[in-house]
Symmetry: D2
Subunit: 342 residues, 4 copies
């Protein structure tokens, strides 16, 4: 059994990690830390875990994280980078579900996250944990930067086109929509049901932190600079991301469906749905990215729809997929749940 | 492996049964019938099953249901009673998720369901499939009447009080609220999102079919007549039932918490939450009834809150729980999923 | 033109008051105060008011409230009682939309609101602003205690029965359900869309502040003590309250429909819907209480459904109705809007 | 008083027209027709109209539409074109809220609407009823083609850019999102709350009827061909459209804000919100298009957000705005309602 610790178990990402790990056949949860909730049973905060998880939150300092095989950070940005160097030094492997290790360039990181990075030297070592891109590197990694939710949906959606050089990389458009759980479990007026229910809007139109992460991914695999316009929107639902992606084909005769089929052959957690309209509910609770690619007429514009559950393939499920790879378990261990529909 | 057939797999109850059975370790799904969809892949209608269930709907007549160990009916009321006698005669066991065998008295059945019963002789044999009441009888049953969703929540909520004679049985009130999936997957104006979203209302105030089912349950266990006022309401959400139950205690000194604790000791699928306010999301997707019981002041009124997922403990999950008992599998086989929250 | 001031314009009740008053033909809004937002345009916080209301929030101390004809308090409980005596002394009339003046007994008030009352002497003078009960007293009042949202729905629903002595007053049950705007515009985790969306639950089962207010109303008009069990629930929608009320008839031969028809004859803001199932959306945005009363069988239990928009007839609309009475305007001035459906 | 008739009053567009006209100071509703509901009180189908509209649906043949000053068609596509020629011949003016007269080219119309046009000769005469484009022509029109909901939001959003030649017209992208009322009040499985609630998806990615309408608008005002990719999405809410529009600026030094400000100066029903993120709720129930225009960085891509209520500025409100112009009433008569928020 892999012995794992979870730092920061009071947000939605942490709760989802607990839901998955509590049923994972190869894992023993040793500690869940929360400074504010230390001593409280986890199931008191998250009643759906009653009967399935018999643990209390513990003080971060007292949890014996150094004895774990793996520590997950489900913390706000800027937390994991404080303790990761020491954990790695103790031989503990780390998966950070926040953004601390996602960007390679510390200057870019500091600009978007508004604080100095505490261990920029680790940025190079950290492996970006999108298995469909980086499977082999993940197996051997000590430190995984678990991707953001939008970057997962957008990168997987654009990847076959960009890798193949099939679209003009200088004008890519990603119009992305997310359920409200993507904003976390923070007491803010702007996320009250009376504020966001029955309404729809764009946000961060001037620029969003996930844009440089997506750009970094695409650039890495395209081998050239990419120009991306990324606009996120808030959907009056709880879980799910849909990204509609637009690119201009450089060669109208290309077999786009074949491109996607080949690229994702053998991928258990990517499902192509040719000609379809994937809806977010079809992946709710499941570790899956469902993609459809199509064209409208003959104008050379390709349209990609990509859906994930932001808390699963966009966060906790992907983290477990990475863990499975790191510890040589079957990649889908603990991730077999079928989406909950309706 | 138990070989099962499903008649009527195009509604929400059928889809939920498929979701659970596709991951059940002891079951092989032999056939799913639908006259209207025969020949179509099931996963085309229910995209969440893509990759998990590789079956097509088949013609009811051609499906070799007689070779199955067990047939589930997830059909409209009045269908199961047509074919059940022949299946039983072939040695096939039957679980009906509709109402055909829920009421013992054919006259009462006909009054509420508006058609003559086709096999009233089976009503006596049919076992009411609420394991917390009827576990032993279920093990040996050939024919299970799977309870209605409201009756599951209300019966489990009232049961300890009524069995113990703790409340005046002549005036019980059940104010019950259900998400819209309880009304099924029927194309009717009244269930459009633009009609039922962002609104709340009572319905069937003059009388609802589930009232005689609840009354029959309570009367059976109380040993006396009961007077029940049952008012169902429609909640703008998809899954979940909450029932708030009111009764007048006959003895104010009674240890009500102890009564519930004793009655449900050892029950895996009933969770007591003393002093709490169980919410429907805490059981979403899980085969669980979560109950809290309390009093407001000293006025002798007891208030019970009982929540279930109408499609799981209120339908498909309960059916699988019954199947597990009938075939001597662990009662929770295939039913270990933790609720999806948020 | 009546010159009005609004203290506390940043909550939902205040915003709704602004929406109504901005189109009221007989009112001029002189000032809207908010300590935290002073200097900010109101329409920046509430974009639906852009173009309709060209005012900034002002400091409470600097707003010339003493020059107004009327001041509305749309503040948290405990605020209005600080300034009301001075305003009354300056000849300004006051409508408090919070709870400061709703209960006649200061000891009861202090028990439920957890603070000492600052001007208990005014409790007797304050007129409870439910026009269907108190129309004449309201006309002449200096100080109006605008009713709570639940008390409005429950009192109007029970009133004809209780006034007529038609039900046993010792066991009344009010099972009430509210949309989330009823909890106000406070940054609390428990009201996030990811917490309350797609879920349903009871709350405050041990006792809610609105219970003594309802009891006080019913007792006053019944002339005898009443026993009330009141359980509020949270509905995953924004606006609306539905209350389902249960009582035991003392005389089964009573013409209940006639009782309601007679009691509410001539009431513009109460609509009886015999045999119907009023839904909350049918009053969304409208100053209206829609009621249906019925019986299930012959068991002597009467069931009342009562719906309002908690922000309109349950708060701001009712306040304007009171204002119209106080200033001898047509009672429905500014309140003619038809509900927004769907 | 203008005497109006409404053909087809049982859908959401018809109901919204009734809500607005019932409070319009210059209108008398003479008849509302519905073959299926003839004889039924309108307020029985639409309870929010109880007390505000005392009319029954009438047989289309018996309604004296020829005596009206104006007839609105709130019917499915293909209905208005059957009776419009005769009405015009009787001197009755017509506003069609469906698509019958929106496209100038009958061949294009027939391709998208799947039926031959019955009166192609009227296509040229019909005036496209978007007052911000066509105000003068609308005043004198006998026949108004009321715009589609998506075309209203997208056209108003793109118009200043396209008219000014500020963007490359060959690659315009409109990623549009609509609440479910846009699909009408039809009994179809795909619009059930249990199907579309808590989920998000694109639809009609291969091509949608509103694309040629938008293209026709933009081309007309741009004076050159335009290339448009239009992808509609379904949002789990009832009312509202948000369109996020992308274009490539031909001159990066352009004052985009000034362009919009100048174009919409004096327009009562267009509100610019520089730097903001307009949400659909801020126009719910109001006849308003709220627009924000911005850029992300210096890459020459302009992003426009445009929101409307699909049933008001996208349908019934716009029809009344057109009526006001046609009959020389103040343009905002009956359209002063402030949006309902929250």
């Amino acid at each position: 059994m892999i012995e794992v610790g979870i730092v920061g178990g009071t947000g939605y990402t942490g709760a989802e990690l607990l839901r998955i790990l509590a049923r994972h056949p190869g894992v023993k949860i040793q500690a869940i830390t929360s400074r504010s909730e230390a001593g409280q049973p986890v199931a008191e905060m998250f009643p759906h875990l009653r009967g399935s998880l018999d643990l209390c939150f513990s003080e971060p300092d007292k949890a014996e994280l150094g004895d774990c095989d793996l520590v997950f950070f489900a913390t706000p940005n800027g937390t994991a980078m404080q303790s990761t160097p020491a954990l790695l030094a103790s031989g503990v492997r780390v998966i950070d579900l926040a953004a601390d290790f996602r960007l390679k360039d510390p200057a870019v990181w500091e600009r978007w996250y508004g604080m100095p990075h505490q261990c920029p030297a680790l940025l190079e070592e950290a492996v970006y944990g999108l298995p469909e891109l980086n499977r082999e590197a993940i197996r051997d990694a000590r430190l995984i930067a678990n991707p953001g939710c939008y970057p997962t949906a957008v990168t997987l959606g654009f990847l076959p086109l960009v890798e193949a050089g099939a679209v003009d990389p200088s004008w890519l458009i990603a119009d992305a929509k997310s359920g409200v759980s993507g904003a976390g479990r923070k007491a803010t007026t702007g996320l009250l049901m009376a504020e966001v229910g029955e309404s729809f809007k764009a946000y961060s139109v001037a620029g969003h932190r996930h844009a440089p992460e997506i750009t970094q991914n695409l650039k890495h695999f395209a081998g050239v600079d990419v120009g991306l316009t990324f606009v996120p929107h808030l959907v009056p639902m709880i879980r799910g991301i849909e990204a509609t992606l637009y690119g201009r084909l450089v060669d109208a005769s290309l077999d786009i469906q074949g491109l996607y089929r080949d690229r994702y052959a053998g991928e258990v957690f990517v499902d192509l749905m040719p000609g379809g309209h994937p809806d977010t509910r079809s992946v709710r609770g499941a570790n899956l990215c469902r993609i459809a690619v199509s064209q409208q007429g003959q104008d050379g514009v390709v349209v990609v729809q990509s859906v994930i559950d932001n808390l699963v393939k966009g966060a906790a499920g992907q983290a477990v997929q990475n863990m499975n790879l790191m510890f040589a378990l079957p990649e889908s261990a603990g991730l077999e749940s079928i989406a909950l529909l309706p």
